[in-house]
């Protein structure tokens, strides 16, 4: 419903040929060669995008209702909702634990990297000497490939015997940071947040904070400097100035950060995949990958059902954000 709203505002009540001259900007009064060029400019990229992104996504939905093994198309049999039913009745512990971990990641990303990244941006925005250098130091982890990040955390930081974390916090004994599945926070006998997942969260924070910092820094740079100064003159203390003057102007950035955080928390894959050595601490994307592609992935049907559940969690949010974005900027 929201998806259609911005479209209606553009062309409501007008006949549907795209040639009609419209209010703002240039219109579609194109003819001949121009028209062909225009159509091609849209059609070629769109064809590629739709064929390689949306068609496969829809195909996954289709496969999730079958028992396909992923080899011969002639072997596809419809099984209705069987795969979903099995996920919720037979494999439910893996599934719900994955959902819990994704939610834990989401909350953690908001409380950890987001707040810290915002704080760093705020401090770096104070016309400090060497601000650029600090910025680079915090940002470097963001540009590294996950293979490198995974290696660094697995070997240098979390190595059981001689990793950095062990030397700092191990009080002389080896600590099994990445392998300890015991719950740090237990919700019940079977569900909770395991210690090794917390270790992984720290690594994620390391990589995510710089990203958030830069987003906020960009947002704050666009805020008028005089606003801050006038706040200072008005006798606001630092917190009041931030809370009542700066923060409200950051609304667009807050929205973007919220979107990035939610999407990244839901489809989080790479660092967790690399660090999750005994692949037990599931998040949805890894559960899906193992079922879809791993050696145990003989069952494309069930693997696709996992993928669709992940998709459903993301897509509602995606559509809400994207349509909102374009509606606001169109009107």
């Amino acid at each position: 419903m929201t998806a259609t709203a911005p479209l209606d505002t553009t062309d409501s009540g007008v006949d549907n040929t795209p040639k009609k001259q419209r209010k703002r900007r240039s219109a579609m009064a194109l003819s001949g060669r121009d028209r062909t060029v225009f159509v091609l400019m849209i059609a070629i990229p769109t064809f590629l995008h739709v064929m390689l992104v949306w068609v496969p996504a829809l195909a996954s939905i289709f496969f999730s209702f079958t028992d396909w093994k992923g080899i011969r198309l002639s072997d596809i049999n419809f099984v209705g909702f069987l795969n979903y039913e099995q996920i919720f009745t037979v494999f439910e512990k893996d599934f719900w634990q994955a959902v819990i971990n994704n939610l834990a990641l989401l909350i953690f990303l908001f409380l950890g990297p987001t707040l810290f990244g915002m704080l760093l941006a705020y401090l770096l925005d104070k016309n400090l000497k060497g601000s650029r250098i600090y910025q680079s130091m915090f940002y470097t982890p963001v540009v590294l490939s996950l293979a490198v990040v995974g290696f660094i955390w697995q070997s240098v930081v979390y190595s059981t015997e001689n990793g950095l974390a062990t030397s700092l916090f191990g009080s002389g004994d080896p600590v099994n940071w990445l392998g300890n599945q015991g719950f740090m926070i237990a919700f019940s006998e079977n569900y909770g947040i395991s210690k090794n997942f917390v270790a992984i969260l720290v690594a994620i924070a390391w990589r995510h904070t710089g990203y958030i910092m830069v987003l906020y820094l960009a947002g704050m740079k666009s805020v008028d400097q005089s606003l801050r100064e006038s706040a200072a003159i008005d006798g606001c203390n630092e917190w009041q100035a931030f809370r009542h003057v700066l923060f409200p102007t950051l609304k667009p950035i807050n929205v973007v950060v919220a979107v990035i955080t939610v999407i990244e928390a839901l489809r989080a894959f790479d660092i967790i995949y690399v660090l999750n050595t005994p692949r037990r601490t599931q998040v949805l994307s890894i559960l899906t990958t193992n079922n879809l592609l791993g050696e145990g992935g003989g069952n494309v049907g069930r693997g696709s059902a996992y993928a669709v559940l992940l998709f459903l969690l993301c897509i509602g949010f995606v559509i809400w954000y994207v349509t909102n974005h374009y509606r606001e900027s169109e009107i």
Binding site: E161, N180, Q181, G182, N196, P278, R280, E295
Partner: protein, 452 residues
Amino acid sequence: MDELQLPKSPSPSQVGFSVGRRSVLKTTALAAGVVAIPGLLAACGSDSATDAGAGSDAGGAAAEPATGEVTLGSNYSNEVPQAGLQAAVDALPNEDVTVKINEVDHNTFQENISTYLQNPDDVIPWFAGYRMRFFAAQDLLGDVSSVWPALDGELGDGFKTASTGDDGKQYFVPWNYYAWGVHYRKSVFADNGWEVPTTFDEMKTLAGEMEAAGITPFALGNDGFWPAMGTFDQLNFRINGYQFHVDLMAGKESWEDDKVKEVFSTWAELLPMTMADPNGRTWEEAAAALVSGEAGMMVIGTFVGQQFPAEELDDVDFFPFPEINAEHGIDVVEAPIDGWMMAKSPKNEAAALELIGFFGTAAAQDAYLAEDPSAVAPSSKANSAAYNELQAKTFKMVSEAKFVTQFLDRDTSPEFASNVAGPRLADFIADPTKVDSILSDMQEQAAVILGG
């Protein structure tokens, strides 16, 4: 999928020990043991050993001289086995064939096998048993029956059966095998005056003495899940015997059976004597404790020898996992076979067949083992005189075994092994008190995946 239907009970002739040990070569005795595995796997009920060669055209492809380039997949990502494979490839007598090796690291290869097989190299590295049959049944592999007549003289019937698909054709050529046992350092045992245990109780007593001496009795690193599977297998067939292993893997026995519970309760006795937190440790890290003498014993495959410095290799020894149930004694050995398969439609079929056929021969296997002496050659003509002590011992133990199993993840559906058994066993060693809920989960999921 009908071609994936799980096998009926193996016929007695497949499971039973029909070839007399005394009258045949040792390798044939091994073969007889291996025959037992396909009992689990021969889905279509035909006696695969008898009609296996029927469709082959008696070495037809091998007769024409092959030329050109053939691609060879390799999941060896380490110098030692890489050098071995290169040596074997170099030994290929046909100078007109060039072999292009495609190296992919072991874990990536395994994780992506189902997509890899849809666009594979001409010659593919893989494992014997269910895992090979699974793909053969999916019509992803090329028939290599034609190379077998030439190999029949050196590869026993057992190997042939382990290489045979559900349709009676061969899709695999064995390359080497190793065995699982309890590894230890001779010097550590000698220094402390310890004896190799022959029963489970003796092993527990020994473990107690080790603890008293400040040594962790059992090294274990379960990163990758398979080390715990190996331990489970040993306990399971020592307690419940070969047939139960086969049936459990096939989904015909329940994971909630008291027999399985006994395996886990026995395992729980060993866990306090095992290195803490094994799930985040690689097997190499665990082996390092064995090398350094911090740990006394390690249940693992003979390849653990690779972790020892060359000059200390003579100090490594192993003994079969000791007897628990007198009814079964130590009649089962776990000896996974690695080997080669051919793509469904290789680019250069003649050369692929020639290369695969060559890999089955003593010449190729000797060339490999000269570089990597941690495995044993399936070929009866291989140069066993060159074996080191561990190899000779492996060879003897496997040859004398009544039954040979492949491995938990090679004897059952890959989906069950990697998505259910692996993580659940890891759960168990992390918290043995959860055994009941773990087993009921496993049974529930086995029922769905194995279609029981």
